[in-house]
C-alpha cells in the first residue's frame, strides 16, 4: 500500500456534525445525490463539478433510494415517503440554468409527492416494482411492502404486505449510544441469487448502477443461507441489518416466508454488502459490519465438516475502530473510522483459503486479515460510495462526504488483480468423470452410427456416379450412331423354337454384352418390351405389349447377360413384333426398400430409363424350317398338329360354306391346297452378288466369289434365313446347314406351311437386249397372313442388305425404264381397280375380294430392285 490516495474536493455544502445519516446515491448519469440527514438533498453534477440543484423536503431525510430506469427517487422523511421525478426536475432545472448559473436551483418538494404516509421510516429499498420500508413501531420492526405503480403519473402505492419482528430490548451497548442522538441506523439491502442474473439480462445491466443496495450472491452460498426454496423461486432476498445487531432476511417472493434472523452482530449494524466478485459477477462473500467494528464474513465452506457437503461459514472478527460508514468494491471492503479510511482486502483471505488446507487455519487466516486493514490516510469521512464508473482502469475511485460537509473524490492506488482458481471437491469430480465417460460412450455410439451412414452414402454416391456415367455412355451412343457391334453396352437376340408339353413355342434369347468399363450393379434393370408392330389385331385399342424386366446383380465389364423370354406359343403370335430394350436405373432399389417405403413414397416410381435398342422380330426369324431332320421331328410329333390342322380345315370349310369368303384369315385357311397365295421380290442379282461377296469373304475364306447363280441363290436364301439383322438371329443353326437347294419349306409361327424359293430369272421378256440378271424370291403359302408377313420380312432383309451395300452398288446405274413403264401401267390398272372397288356400291365381301386380288397382283409382280 505504498501509493497514496488522491483526495479531490468537489463541493462543499454547509452542515456539521455526524449525528445524521448521510447517504450518497450515484448512478443517475453524471449526477450524484447526497442526503445529509437534513431536509435538503443535494444534486451534484460531475460534469459541471458543482451542485446544480437542492431539493428541499418537508422534513429531515432519513433514506434515499433511486430507480434509474424511471429516473425516480424515493425519499424517506419523518412524515412519509416522497417520490420525486428526477428527470422532470432536472429538465426544468436545465431550462432555468441560464439565468441562475451561479447558485444552485432550489426545488421545494411539495406534499403532492407524498406516496406513503408512514411515519419515521428509517430505511427504504426498491426491488423491481416493490418499495420496501423499514420502520420501528412500538415494540416491533415493521417491514412493509408497497407496490409501485407502473405509470409514473399515478401516485397510488398500494400496501400489500408487512412483516413484524419484535424489538429486542436488550441492546447492550447500542442502547446508550442511541440515546445520544436520533440516529437509528438500519440497513436494507437486496440479495439476488447469482444464476438469476443470467436469466434476466435487465438485472445484470442494472446491477452495475443500482449496485449500492443490490448484490448478486454466488448461488451455492445463496442456497446455504436462504434456502433452496428461495433459490428455486428465483426470489430476491431482503437482508436488513437492525440497530440491535440482528441481521434478518426475508425471501421476497416465496409464499409463506417470514422475516428470520440470520445472525446477530450484537452491535448496531451499519453496513451490509457482498464482495469477492468472481468472473461471473457473483459475490462469494457476504459482509456485515457493526458500529463498533465487529465484522462477520459469510462464505461457503465447501470442504464442509462431517458430512462432506458444503456449509456456510460465519467468520466473526473485529476490525479496529468504530465503523462510521462503509462501501464495497469487487474485492475490498472500505470503511471509515472517522480518523482514517481503511481497506480490508477480502479476497486475500479467500485466496489463502484456497491454497491452504481447511480447518482452523483458514478461519485464523481470515481473522488475521480482519485484523490488518490497510490505511488509506483519509480522515473524517462520514459517507462512502463507489461510483459506477470507477473500475475502468483498475484503479478505484470512491466518493466520500467528509464530516465538514465536503464531497470528495478519493482515488486509490491500483489494487492487484486476483484470480480465483476453482477447485471441485472429489465427489463432484467423480460425478463429472462419470458424466464424461457416459458422454464419451454416447458420442462413440453416435459416431459409429454416423460412420455407417456416411459409408452408405458414399456407396450410394458411387452407384449414382456409375449410373450417370452409364447413362452418358448410352446417350453418346444414340448421338454418334455407332454400329451395333461397337456399342459399349449392346444386346442382341436369338430366336429359337422349342417344344414344351407338346407345344411349340418361340422364345427369344437376349444377350446383353457389357463392354463398358462399368459394372452394372444393383439398381440396374434390363427392361424388354415386346409389342406387335401393328396394333390392328387388338380390338379395343389396348396395347398387347408385354414387358419383361431382368434386374442385374453384378454385371462386370466384359460379361454377358443372358435372358430368355417366351414370345409366343405356336399359332398365337402376331408377327412382326417390335422388341425394344432399355436399361432402367431405379433410385428406390438403390436406397433399399424399407427406407424408401418409409420416407419417400413418391420416389418408388422414379427411375432413369435409358433406351438401348429397338429391334423387329419378323417372320423370317420365326420360321421353322422343314429340314430333313426337322421333317423327322415333325413326323414324330405330327399327329396332334396334323389333326389340329385337319380339324381346323374342316371347321374353316364349314364356316366358309356358311358365310362365304369373309376375310383373309378364313380364306387362307380355307384353301390350303387349291389356292396358294404367293408373293415375290425381285432383286438384281448383281447387287446381291456385290452385297453378299464382302460378307462371304469375311466369313468364309474358301469361296472367293459367287459366280454360280445357283450358289448365289443358295447363299441369299441362307442369308435370308440366318442373317443377323439388327441383332436378331434365328437360333436354329443346325437346320441351316441342311439347306441344299434354293427352296426352303418352312412353317410359320402360326403353323402355316410355306415355301420360300430363290431362283434366277430374267426380267424383261419382250426385249432381251436389256436383260438383267434377276433373282426372284418367291414366297408361297396357303396362308395369306404368312405370305404377307414373310414378304414383309424378306423385303426388310433385302432392304438392309442393300443399305449396307449402297456405296458399292452406286456404280450400277442401269435404270430399268422398261420395268418401270410396265410397273407404272400395272399401277394404273390397280389404281383404277381400287377406285372402282371403292366407287361402286358393292357388298363389302365383293370389295374385300377385289382389294385382295389387287394386293395379290402387287405382290406377284414386284419391281426389280437394283
Amino acid at each position: 500500500m505504498e501509493g497514496r490516495c488522491a483526495v479531490e474536493t468537489w463541493a462543499q455544502f454547509g452542515f456539521s456534525g455526524r449525528s445524521y445519516k448521510v447517504k450518497i446515491l450515484c448512478g443517475f448519469g453524471t449526477d450524484v445525490l447526497i442526503c445529509t440527514g437534513t431536509e435538503e438533498i443535494y444534486v451534484f453534477s460531475k460534469r459541471e463539478r458543482k451542485i446544480t440543484t437542492v431539493l428541499l423536503l418537508p422534513a429531515a431525510v432519513s433514506d434515499l433510494v433511486g430507480n434509474q430506469d424511471k429516473q425516480l427517487i424515493y425519499v424517506a422523511c419523518r412524515s412519509g415517503v416522497y417520490r420525486v421525478n428526477l428527470q422532470f426536475l432536472l429538465h426544468r432545472d436545465q431550462s432555468s440554468q441560464a439565468d441562475a448559473s451561479s447558485s444552485p436551483a432550489e426545488l421545494k418538494i411539495s406534499q403532492e409527492c407524498l406516496v406513503v404516509g408512514a411515519d419515521e421510516v428509517s430505511s427504504l429499498l426498491l426491488v423491481g416494482s416493490v418499495l420496501l420500508t423499514l420502520c420501528q413501531r412500538d415494540a416491533s420492526w415493521l417491514l412493509t411492502l408497497y407496490k409501485t405503480p407502473k405509470q409514473t403519473a399515478s401516485t397510488s402505492h398500494e400496501e400489500f404486505g408487512s412483516f413484524h419482528l419484535p424489538v429486542v430490548s436488550a441492546v447492550d451497548c447500542g442502547a446508550a449510544e442511541s440515546n445520544r442522538g436520533p440516529r437509528k441506523g438500519s440497513v436494507l439491502i437486496c440479495i439476488h441469487s447469482g444464476d438469476v442474473e443470467a436469466s434476466s439480462p435487465s438485472n445484470a445491466s442494472a446491477e452495475s448502477t443500482v449496485a449500492q443496495d443490490h448484490f448478486h450472491l454466488e448461488p451455492l452460498l445463496f442456497k446455504l443461507l436462504f434456502g433452496v426454496e428461495a433459490a428455486l423461486a428465483k426470489s430476491p432476498v431482503i437482508l436488513c441489518g437492525l440497530p440491535d445487531g440482528r441481521l434478518c432476511f426475508l425471501p421476497l417472493r416465496l409464499p409463506g416466508s417470514r422475516l428470520r434472523v440470520l445472525h446477530s452482530l450484537e452491535q448496531p449494524v451499519c453496513f451490509v454488502g457482498a464482495s469477492v466478485v468472481t468472473e461471473t459477477g457473483h459475490a462469494q462473500c457476504l459482509v456485515a459490519a457493526g458500529e463498533q467494528g465487529r465484522v462477520v464474513l459469510i462464505k461457503t465452506d465447501k470442504a464442509g465438516s462431517e458430512g462432506g457437503s458444503a456449509m456456510a461459514a460465519f467468520t466473526e472478527g473485529c476490525v479496529p475502530g468504530p465503523v462510521w460508514c462503509g462501501c464495497m468494491d469487487k474485492s475490498c471492503f472500505y470503511y471509515s473510522t472517522g480518523a482514517d479510511l481503511l481497506r480490508l482486502d477480502l479476497s486475500e483471505g479467500s485466496f489463502a483459503r484456497e491454497s491452504k488446507e481447511r480447518g482452523e487455519e483458514t478461519s485464523g487466516m481470515t481473522a488475521a486479515a480482519l485484523q490488518s486493514p490497510s490505511s488509506l490516510n483519509v480522515c473524517r469521512v462520514i459517507a462512502l460510495a463507489e461510483p459506477a464508473c470507477s473500475t475502468a482502469a483498475g484503479d478505484v475511485q470512491l466518493l466520500g462526504v467528509s464530516a465538514r460537509g465536503q464531497l470528495q473524490r478519493i482515488c486509490l492506488p491500483a489494487g492487484r488483480v486476483d484470480e480465483g482458481s476453482s477447485k471441485l471437491p472429489s465427489t463432484q469430480v467423480s460425478r463429472s468423470v462419470r458424466d464424461l465417460l457416459s458422454a464419451i460412450g454416447d458420442v462413440c455410439e453416435r459416431a459409429s452410427v454416423l460412420k455407417t451412414v456416411i459409408k452408405s452414402k458414399n456407396q450410394f454416391l458411387r452407384l449414382l456416379n456409375h449410373a450417370v456415367s452409364v447413362s452418358f455412355l448410352l446417350m453418346a451412343d444414340t448421338t454418334t450412331d455407332l454400329p451395333i457391334k461397337e456399342k459399349p453396352i449392346r444386346c442382341h437376340f436369338e430366336t429359337s423354337w422349342s417344344r414344351l408339353l407338346q407345344k411349340d413355342s418361340l422364345s427369344l434369347v437376349c444377350f446383353l454384352h457389357n463392354s463398358s468399363p462399368f459394372v452394372l450393379e444393383r439398381g440396374w434393370t434390363l427392361s424388354i418390351t415386346v409389342s406387335p408392330l401393328s396394333y390392328s389385331s387388338s380390338p379395343a385399342g389396348e396395347s398387347s405389349s408385354t414387358n419383361f424386366s431382368f434386374p442385374f446383380h453384378d454385371l462386370r465389364p466384359g460379361q454377358t447377360f443372358e435372358a430368355s423370354l417366351p414370345i409366343a406359343a405356336a399359332g398365337d403370335a402376331s408377327f412382326p413384333m417390335t422388341v425394344s430394350c432399355s436399361l432402367i436405373f431405379s433410385l428406390s432399389s438403390l436406397l433399399g426398400e424399407e427406407e424408401v417405403a418409409a420416407s419417400f413414397a413418391g420416389l418408388q416410381s422414379s427411375c432413369i430409363s435409358l433406351p438401348l435398342s429397338t429391334l423387329t422380330v419378323d417372320w423370317l426369324h420365326a420360321l421353322q424350317l422343314n429340314s430333313p431332320t426337322a421333317a423327322h421331328k415333325m413326323a414324330t410329333v405330327q399327329p396332334s398338329s396334323a389333326a389340329a390342322d385337319s380339324i381346323q380345315t374342316f371347321l374353316s370349310s364349314r364356316q366358309l360354306r356358311c358365310s362365304g369368303r369373309t376375310n383373309k384369315g378364313g380364306e387362307s385357311a380355307a384353301k390350303p391346297e387349291s389356292e396358294k397365295y404367293s408373293a415375290s421380290v425381285w432383286v438384281s442379282s448383281e447387287i446381291v452378288r456385290d452385297t453378299l461377296k464382302p460378307k462371304k469373304s469375311s466369313n468364309l475364306d474358301a469361296k472367293e466369289s459367287i459366280r454360280d447363280p445357283e450358289d448365289l441363290c443358295l447363299s441369299l436364301l441362307e442369308r435370308l434365313l440366318s442373317e443377323d439383322t439388327e441383332g436378331v438371329k434365328m437360333g436354329c443353326q443346325g437346320d441351316k446347314i441342311a439347306l441344299s437347294t434354293s427352296v426352303a419349306h418352312a412353317r410359320g409361327p402360326n403353323g402355316a406351311a410355306m415355301k420360300l424359293t430363290v431362283k434366277e430369272i430374267n426380267v424383261g421378256e419382250e426385249e432381251s437386249t436389256d436383260k438383267e440378271a434377276t433373282i426372284e424370291v418367291q414366297i408361297e403359302s396357303s396362308s395369306l397372313a404368312a405370305v404377307c408377313g414373310l414378304h414383309h420380312a424378306v423385303l426388310r432383309r433385302i432392304q438392309t442388305l442393300l443399305q449396307s451395300a449402297t456405296e458399292k452398288a452406286a456404280s450400277t446405274k442401269n435404270v430399268q425404264i422398261l420395268g418401270l413403264r410396265r410397273a407404272l401401267q400395272r399401277a394404273e390398272i390397280q389404281q383404277s381397280q381400287i377406285s372402282g372397288a371403292f366407287g361402286e356400291v358393292v357388298s363389302t365381301v365383293q370389295r374385300d375380294r377385289l382389294l385382295l386380288s389387287v394386293y395379290q397382283e402387287l405382290r406377284r409382280n414386284p419391281l426389280l430392285i437394283v
Binding site: G117, G128, S129, V130, L145, F160, G161, F163, L220, K223, L224, L225, F226, G227, V228, E229, A231, L232, A233, K234, S235, L250, P251, L252, R253, L254, P255, G256, S257, R258, R260, G304, G307, G308, S309, A310, M311, A312, T427, S438, G441, D442, E445
Partner: protein, 622 residues
Amino acid sequence: MYQPPSLLEKWSQENNELVNKCKQQEAGGGAVSRDHRQSSLRWCSSEFHKLLRKIQGIPPHVDHSQLELAVVYNTCVCFTAQSQFSEAELLLKEATERVLQVTGNNADTSDPLVLWRAGLKSAGNTALHPHVLYLLCLQWALWLAKCQLENIGELQEQMSSLCEIVCDGVGDCSPSEAKGRLSKSPLLVMEPKRLTELLQICTSIAQGAEKLNEGRSSEALSDLQAASALPATRALVAYTHLLSGSCLAHMNRPQMALQCYKRALETDSRCVCALYRSMLIYRQLGNTQAEIQALRLLHSTLMLPPATEPVLGGIQPLSPSLLLSSQSLSRLLSVPSALSVLYSLALKCVLSGRVTEGVEHYLDLLAALHSEDQHAVDAEVSVLPRMLELYLEAGTALLFTRRPADCMAFCNEVISTTLELVPEKVVLEEPEEGIGGDARGLSVEGEDKVAMLLWAAAAYLLQGHCHTHLKDWKQAVTHYTRCINLLVKVHLKNRDFQPQIPAADVNVKHGKDLCTLQRMKGLSLAWRGISFTQMDQLREALRDLQLSLQAFPDYTGAGLWCGEVLWRLGRKHEAAACWEKTWSLTTQTSVEKLPLYLQDPQSGPLLDSVELRLRIQELGLT
C-alpha cells in the same frame, strides 16, 4: 335582544357540528384511502374527547346529562372504531357512575355488570333511559369485540329489552314527534338502531361459532337459523348460513350442509369460505369430480381482484369485522390461499386421471410462484409443499402426459439446485417420540439434508423414467444408477432394531423419510433392472430386480419382471413361482399417501399378467 347562548346550547351545537363533519367524511370515505380515514377518525375522537372533558368538568346535572351521554356515546364510537377498547370502556364506566350520581344512587361496586344493572334501574323511566340504553349498546359492542360473550349472556334480558325499545321506540313516534325530539336532542355519530341490529346478528354469529367450537352444534344451529332472518347485510346473513352449514357438517349431515353453503353463496357470492367448505365436504364424500369443480371455482374466485373494500356495515364507523374477531370464528372463516387451492386442484386432477388438466394447473402454479407479482404476503402457514416437491410433482405429471423433455428440464432444475448441498453421508435416525421429526437432521440454515438428498434422488429417478419412456435404455440405466448412488449415502441408524431389516412393518414404524427412501430404492433398482432387461443384460437385470424386491418387497412390478428375467434365463419354474408369489401379495400400499413422484411410472414396457398366466399353464402342461 341578543342572548348569549348557554353553555349547553354551545356544547350541543359543537357536538352536532362534529357529528356532521364526521358523517361527511365517512360519506366520502369510499374514495379516500384507509390511512386517511384512520386519521380523520383519530381527529374526530380527540375532538369529541375534548368536548366531553369540558362537559364533564362540571358536576353532573340532569339538564346536561342527556347531552353528556350523547357525547360519551359519540366518543366511544370513535374510540371503538379505532380499536381503543380500554379507553372506551373507561368512559362508559365513568358515564354510568355519573348517571347514578344524577339519579341520586351511589354504587360502590366496580363490577361492570352490577354497575350497569344499577344504572339501568336508576335511569328507570326518566328521559335519560334511552341514552343509557345507547351506552349499553356500546358496552355490548365492546364485549363483543373483546369476545367476552359471557357478559353479554349475563345481561341477556336487558339486552333483549334494549333491542325492543331501541328498535321499536323510534318506530313508535309519530314523525312530528320524532322530529321534535331530534331537533332538541343532540346528534349521534351512529344511529342506535343500526348499531343494535348489527350487534344482534354479530352476536348470534359469534355465539354460534363459539358453540360450534364447543361441540354444541345442534344448539348453535337453531340460533343461527333464527339469526339468518335478522335484518343485516348480505355478507352477515351469508355468514349465518355458512355457520349453519358447518354445524350440519359437524352433525354428520353433509348433504344438508351443502344446501346451507349453497344458500350462503346465493346470499353473498363473495363468500369464498362457503365454497371452500363445500369442497371439503365433497372431498369427504369422495366426489372427486365435484371436488375438482369446487376447487376450480374457488381458485377463480380467489383470483378475482378484491372488490372495492366490501362495505360490510354500510357507511358506519363500526364495521362487522371489528365485532367479529373471535378466534373460533376466524378459524371457521379461514380459506387457504389461492396458490394452495391451485395446488390441491392440480394434485387432485393428476390423481384422478385428468393429467393434462393437472399439468396445466401445475404449470400455472409454478408460473405464479415465479412471477414478479408473487410476494411473500401471507404469513399464515402455507399448505403448499416445498418448492422442490412441486417441481418433482409437476415433472411427474408432465411425464404422465408424455412430455419427457419437459419433465427432464424440471428434474435438471431440481438436481442443479440440490446436488451441491447433498452431503457425502447422512444418517437417518428413527425420529424420537417426544421431539418429532422436525428436529432431526436440520442444519443451521433450516434445510433438511436428508430431504435434499431424497429430492435429488427423486429427480434422477424421474429422469430415468423419462429415458425409459423414450426407450433410451442406456441413459435410463445411467440415471437410475445415479439415483441409487445417492440413496446408498443414507445410513440407517436405529436404537431398537438392527439396521436395514427389510421387514414390511418397518414402514409403519419409521418415519416418512424412511418409507420414501425404501420405495425409491425399490423403484430405481427395479427400473434399472427392467432397463437392463431391455438391453438383454439379463444377469444384471436379475441382480437389480432381486435387490429391489429386498428393498421394497411390495412392489409388484419388480416381482413380475423378476419372473420375466428368470423365464428368459430359462429358469421357468422359478419364474412361475416368482409370479405366483407376486400375485399373492396383498394390495399395494395406498397410492394416495405417497408423493406423486414416487408412483409407478405409467409408461415403459409392460408385462401382461394374462399372458404370464398362460405361460405358467403351458409350463404346467409340459
